[in-house]
């Protein structure tokens, strides 16, 4: 058992950390990258695209992609170190993140040569951005029940239907889309995986503003949208297998979120902020609350590292994936809720105040954190997955 970096990994960490220190400017930094995974406005987006180009020029985008496709062929452990250092430096999520992490690896594995040539370089360079067209109003947790229809039109498909919860669709040039091509087949068959140019006539993007005012998600409508057949990934009617590949890259993401910085900030606030006539930090229940959060954050971190070790050893994935999702999202919510315990009425002020300069950020987290236990599979679904796939309990 060894929690320390091996020498070559320590060297890789030093190299990337030094590069970030030299190149990541303050105007790009975010306090917590997860607060806004999609740029809040076009100006910020442009800045982040320029940042992606700078990283790409230095060879730091898509490092785990094979060298022949523009990556570094980085090992899994290097990807983990990369993610740790990237978020430690307060760098923002790249505009190309979902394509770099999900679509790119899927195309490398299952795409045609023409698809790879056309899309992979532009994904890395940030010249084209992608959105993920999977969820539908009637197909969330049960994704395979999707109903967006694609009818064979000879050399193309004609797509009609609606997607929802589409992150960043308002900034996207392309969409990787799941459609039903055979409505008579059992639900996991008859699905096809398409690459759709968002500029195609008939594509409409409508914002889906969250309860905290964030514009992150969208509804995307398809009305007689023509998609050439060369844009099918994998085989027609066998898109579910391709989707599973994409989802595996999503759930197998290397670097997990580290909550320690947020909790440490709460400790700082508790010491400074005189809630109820004394520093909150002098109150036993506040100390107990924040200590528990820190313990849980550390538990999450080590549980994640144990899962990584299994992967590094080539063992089948353990129960960690769903545990991380379930426990991590609920932890993020408890951290947000703890801020209200500390800040009292300041937690409801949506902006900086003299007493609490980052009050607005916490107010946003209190509201926005509710999504964590819903997006990417609700906590209820995670508990089903753990119960059935990990513990082997019978389906209901």
């Amino acid at each position: 058992m060894d929690f320390a970096d091996a020498p070559e990994h320590a060297e890789f960490r030093r190299e990337f950390r030094a590069w970030l220190e030299a190149n990541l400017t303050d105007d790009l930094k975010v306090e917590d990258a997860q607060d806004s995974r999609v740029a809040p406005d076009r100006e910020t987006l442009e800045k982040r695209v320029a940042w992606q180009k700078k990283m790409h020029a230095a060879g730091w985008v898509g490092i785990s992609w094979p060298k022949e496709y523009g990556g570094r062929g980085a090992s899994f452990i290097q990807q983990v170190i990369f993610d740790e250092e990237y978020f430690r430096a307060h760098a923002p999520i790249l505009p190309g993140a979902s394509a770099i992490g999900l679509l790119g690896p899927t195309l490398i594995q299952l795409g045609t040569e023409a698809q790879k040539q056309r899309h992979l370089p532009r994904i890395l360079s940030g010249d084209e951005r992608w959105c993920q067209g999977f969820s539908e109003p009637g197909a969330g947790g049960d994704l395979a029940s999707l109903r967006t229809r694609a009818v064979d039109g000879g050399d193309h498909f004609v797509v009609n239907g609606q997607k929802v919860w589409t992150s960043g669709a308002h900034f996207a040039d392309w969409c990787f889309l799941l459609v039903r091509t055979d409505p008579d087949a059992p639900k996991h068959h008859g699905i096809t995986y398409l690459l759709v140019d968002m500029k195609t006539p008939g594509v409409t993007v409508r914002p889906l503003v969250l309860l905290n005012g964030h514009r992150h998600f969208n509804e995307v409508f398809f009305e007689d949208v023509a998609v050439p057949k060369e844009n099918v990934v994998g085989k027609i009617n066998e898109g579910w297998k391709v989707a599973i590949t994409t989802l595996m890259f999503e759930r197998g993401g290397a670097g997990g979120r580290d909550h320690v910085a947020q909790i440490a900030r709460l400790v700082e606030l508790a010491k400074q902020f005189p809630n109820r006539q004394e520093p909150s930090w002098d109150q036993t229940h506040v100390r107990q609350l924040l200590a528990q959060l820190m313990i849980d954050a550390q538990a999450l971190k080590v549980t994640r590292l144990r899962g990584l070790t299994r992967r590094l050893r080539g063992e089948p994935p353990g129960p960690e994936g769903s545990i991380l999702k379930l426990f991590g999202s609920e932890l993020a919510q408890r951290i947000a809720d703890a801020s209200s315990t500390l800040l009292g009425p300041y937690a409801t002020i949506d902006g900086a105040t003299e007493a609490v300069p980052d009050a607005g950020r916490w107010a946003h987290r209190v509201l926005g954190a509710r999504q964590y236990s819903i997006a990417g599979g609700t906590s209820e679904i995670q508990r089903n997955i753990i119960g059935e796939r990990v513990l082997g309990l019978p389906k209901g």
Binding site: M1, F3, A291, A299, L305, R306, R383, I386, G392, P394
Partner: protein, 379 residues
């Protein structure tokens, strides 16, 4: 980075599991816990032979020279088997105190005999105030010609009735801090004026005792290591024992989860296995989360102590705090999901539930360790 066990450690786990499955069945546990010894001499000899008693002692002291990570493997298996008897008291308290504080001569005198199973030991530190910090050590050791005289009472002392020697923490001077002035003494249990009475504790597999000292005279040579400076050694003993107990709690909780999942697959209500209902399934999922996280923190703490990492005390308190809560929650949930049968004496769950309760409050409960975490992260 490699957060897994080595081949040797997996082998140790395998051997321990096979041995305990064969010899330490819950039938054995129930028979033994009904007796004051809670153990048979044959069983004790067997675990000595396998090197378990001296696993953390240095090789020159008759031990195996292994670390806390190795011990964690063993403790998980002992927890799974809810192994009865004075292992904790002998190896992880009395023996560990001599290892941590004793002079080379003292270690040579006691540790090889402990490792070979010829000598049992325990640690008498806790008093009526039930505190785990230095201010809990109130009992005085009065200097007298050629040595000291001990007077007072120690409570919650694990398996003192079985021990041949008792390491006692007592105050030898009023120092500038509470930590200063605590000394450790090795006292034979048959010393004049020393008496032991069993406390009727809920976990009968590991018994607790009151130890009374009525003007017990001990020679200067009974002082373990340096006079007045026993507290730091005691902290090291407590920290390692807390991690070991956390590991044992993980092993016990994993076993409770396994039993519960097995039961939920078989037991039917309204024509379906209860495990197919989300009310049951989701509770089982939560139990797994508790167990996995407890293991994570425990493994990290063991590694941090072995490595002498700067954050070892923080890691220890995180592990003990989390495991204390987790093992209570998991054993309680196990009983709940079993329903009525889980409440019976006949079912084995109560053995685990009682062990979990006893371990939860030993060496500082979750609240105590959370406060230690708070003071460390707020410093």
């Amino acid at each position: 980075m490699d957060i897994g066990f080595s081949e040797e450690q997996e082998l140790l786990r395998d051997t321990a599991r096979k041995f305990l499955d064969a010899t330490c069945t819950t039938k054995f546990v129930r028979e033994r816990m009904a007796t004051p010894e809670a153990m048979t001499p044959e069983f004790w000899a067997q675990i000595a032979e396998q090197g378990w008693l001296g696993i953390n002692f240095a090789e020159e002291d008759g031990g195996s020279g292994l670390g806390l990570v190795d011990l964690v493997v063993l403790m998980e298996e002992m927890g799974r088997a809810v192994m009865p008897g004075p292992y904790l008291a002998t190896a992880l308290l009395g023996g560990a105190a001599i290892r941590a504080a004793g002079s080379p001569l003292q270690r040579q005198e006691y540790l090889p005999r402990i490792a070979e199973g010829a000598l049992k030991a325990t640690l008498a530190a806790t008093e009526a105030n039930a505190r785990w910090d230095a201010s809990g050590i109130v009992m005085n050791a009065q200097p007298m010609r050629g040595g000291f005289e001990l007077s007072g009472t120690k409570l919650f002392v694990p398996d003192a009735h079985l021990a041949d020697i008792i390491v006692v923490a007592a105050r030898t001077r009023d120092g500038s801090t509470m930590e200063d002035g605590v000394s450790l003494f090795v006292v034979p249990k048959d010393a004049a004026g020393l008496s032991v009475a069993l406390m009727p504790s809920i976990d009968e597999t590991r018994k607790l005792c009151e130890v009374h000292f009525a003007n017990v005279a001990v020679p200067q040579a009974a002082v373990l290591g340096e006079l007045h400076a026993g507290w730091p050694a005691l902290v090291r003993v407590y920290d390692a024992a807390a991690v070991a107990l956390a590991a044992e709690m993980c092993g016990g909780a994993q076993r409770v989860l396994d039993m519960t999942v097995e039961y939920a697959k078989l037991r039917e209500t309204f024509g379906k296995p209860i495990g197919s209902y989300q009310g049951v399934k989701h509770k089982c999922a939560d139990m797994l989360v508790e167990v996995e996280n407890a293991k994570s923190l425990t493994y990290y703490a063991a590694w941090a102590i072995d490595e002498g990492a700067a954050d070892a005390p923080l890691a220890v308190s995180m592990a003990k705090s989390y495991a204390s809560d987790a093992s209570r929650k998991v054993s309680n949930a196990g009983i709940q999901l079993h329903g009525g049968i889980g409440m019976t004496w006949e079912h084995d769950l109560h053995l685990y539930m009682k062990r979990a309760k006893a371990s939860e409050v030993a060496f500082g409960d979750a609240t105590w360790h959370r406060e230690r975490v708070a003071s460390l992260i707020g410093a």
